[in-house]
Symmetry: C2
Subunit: 191 residues, 2 copies
DNA sequence: ACCTGAACACCGTTCAAGT
DNA sequence: ACCTGAACACCGTTCAAGT
């Protein structure tokens, strides 16, 4: 990579980090180029799609989360390990629209973000399987359910500050819903 | 209302219904005006904001859902009644972005959609209270939790067709999470 | 190789000019 | 009273022209 290209690449990423944090995933790419003091064509040369740019902003974090999941595989309590990973996942909210961007990667197999997410999803899938083998999580739950629900909680938290404040609570409800149920529907009536 | 105004109002609504169903809540207002064969100023005269247009598209349904909730207040099983209302709520998916639009009304007290939603939220709040009084739902859940979580499930369903297919399943998990829990965290371990 | 920025086709919003 | 559509300031994307 030519030195001016390398410099521009770094400037764009730095600008994008700021602008996307402020404006969300739908931030103006023109604003990014302006802040990076770079022509629009330069931005497109380095990041052919908006998604490629977001992927570069997110990649490191996904790798870290995948590593965290791998580490938690040897935890004593598989359910607690799963819960801890999910809390960790939700604790990082780099910009509005993240939940939506992550869900979009499910359909779009070609995208850079899809690849970036895949290892992480595999790793948390193993955490889920362990929690199911130990009988703590309902056997019919799969990793898509889990990924969808945790992103749903993340999405809710993006919607309003007072909902962000409830994030742990809401995750708790969802986790209890995924946990093995001891009571059936009948016993719930008139207790 | 002058007769040409009345005609334009109806044409705009009809066009909006089609375009918004296709493009979602972020549909192009220009496309709506074009399809209605109306100038942009006419659209703005009748619907000063995008939200006002959406509110008019949604109002009847919200009233029906509020009425449904009121009717379910006298049901024998309050938990089943709540579950039925939530399924009914989720069964109607007029366009992408609905969940987001509904959540936005929470912060924006001035909006037309906020008013439209309020009666419905009150009504389902009473369903929730009944289910709590009967001991079927955890006492710490409030109606904002419930509204957030049901919209979260609706949002997930907007993200991909195979997630829409899981909507009932996901709602089931969430409902079980809100239901009174018989087991505590310790008893979940190594069962 | 890489960068620039004008060009193009869109968009939301406003408002002078019409009837 | 209501309607029209051009005008304005944006946007994403492309690409001829430069170095």
């Amino acid at each position: 990579m030519r030195s001016d290209a390398e410099r521009n690449y770094a400037r764009i990423l730095s600008a994008a980090k700021t602008i996307v944090a402020k404006q969300g995933a739908q931030a103006s790419l023109r604003d990014v180029a302006r802040r990076a003091e770079v022509g629009m064509g330069t931005l497109y040369r380095h990041f052919p799609t908006r998604e490629a740019l977001l992927e570069t902003l997110l990649r490191d974090r996904f790798e870290a989360l995948a590593a965290k999941a791998a580490a938690l595989e040897s935890a004593r309590d598989p359910f607690a390990a799963l819960a801890e990973w999910l809390r960790e996942f939700l604790s990082w909210t780099p910009f509005r629209g993240l939940a939506s961007a992550l869900m979009a990667t499910l359909s779009d197999q070609e995208s850079a973000l899809h690849a970036s997410c895949h290892a992480m999803r595999q790793a948390v899938g193993r955490l889920l399987a362990r929690a199911q083998e130990s009988g703590q999580v309902r056997p019919e739950v799969d990793s898509l359910d889990l990924f969808a629900l945790v992103n749903a909680v993340g999405w809710v938290s993006e919607q309003a500050p007072d909902l962000a404040a409830r994030q742990e609570r809401l995750l708790g409800f969802v986790l209890d819903g995924l946990a093995s149920q001891q009571d059936d529907a009948d016993s719930r009536e008139c207790r």
